[in-house]
Symmetry: C2
Subunit: 174 residues, 2 copies
């Protein structure tokens, strides 16, 4: 392969690896995707292992991760016994959905915990001394403030949903 083109390809792989990392995913996930994204034909695990110079196990685990959330598709290649993969075209959608779901889950966890704490305070209330009651009041106030965020966040998530582009607006692949 032409060394100039190889340099470009490797830069792209590097850039996408970094982007992946900065989004809280592993570097290799981004690199694998980048590789498939640039390729005009499906690649096997061994192809990827060779180009990225990583272990087979590493590639295996990370390609399954990509597959699991629909960024990559396993395809059959005539005459080969190996699994081959190609990139899915609407990654943006997939990525945003992932971010959204993640945020949603985190918020839900947080809100559940907050709810439990409110209950706990209300249960203990009766036996509180005057000072303790004052503290409890403040806690309840703060917890309620957080609860109010829930609707705000909900609005935000709706916003994100609306933003996620339709598949057919981003056509790909010759």
């Amino acid at each position: 392969m032409n060394p100039e083109l190889e340099k470009v390809r490797d830069s792209f792989i590097e850039t996408m690896g970094q982007l992946s990392m900065s989004l809280g995913l592993s570097q290799v996930v981004g690199q694998l995707y980048a590789l498939l994204y640039l390729s005009n034909k499906p690649l096997s695990l061994d192809d990827m292992v060779e180009i990225l110079e990583i272990s087979k196990g590493n590639a295996s685990v990370n390609i399954r991760e990509l597959e699991r959330w629909g960024a990559v598709r396993r395809v059959w290649v005539k005459g080969s016994r190996r699994d081959h993969y190609e990139s899915e075209s609407d990654v943006l959608k997939v990525v945003l959905n992932r971010l959204k779901d993640g945020l949603q889950r985190r918020i839900n966890n947080t809100m559940d915990a907050i709810g439990k704490m409110s209950e706990l305070i209300n249960e203990g209330k009766k036996e509180f001394s005057a000072t303790e009651k004052k503290t409890a009041m403040i806690y309840i106030e703060r917890l309620n403030e957080i609860k109010e965020f829930r609707s705000v966040i909900r609005g935000f998530l709706r916003n994100v949903s609306e933003f996620i582009p339709e598949k057919d607006k981003l056509q790909r692949r010759s």
Copy 2:
């Protein structure tokens, strides 16, 4: 302190620490903020060190982090030589701005890299063989697809900006 209330406080601190971590920040950052958020008076470093049972160095570094991005404010407490801190009320705004800026920076980095790659291909073009030209074509096509995302992302970020609530809509502190 009442053990029930202490339990609630510690749950809150734990929850916020986890939320912080899941947003890519350090656990202690979230815990420190949570502590100040619940407190009805400013706290000193040593107060926080004692409650969270962490080292002074750790607290120092992380409280400065919080201060640096405006989630926490250093306040003067009469008769004490120590620095005291209290939580800023519009954290949601601060957090969303941070997320936005972070995304923006990442996208810019990515786009810069993509631009450089396009140039590199165009420079080398002349001496490419037929096969290499075909590969180069594909690369250029893919890079352009990515470039198109820029405007989409820009739209999204505008969306986020609009979403960020005004300070006075979320009043706090008695």
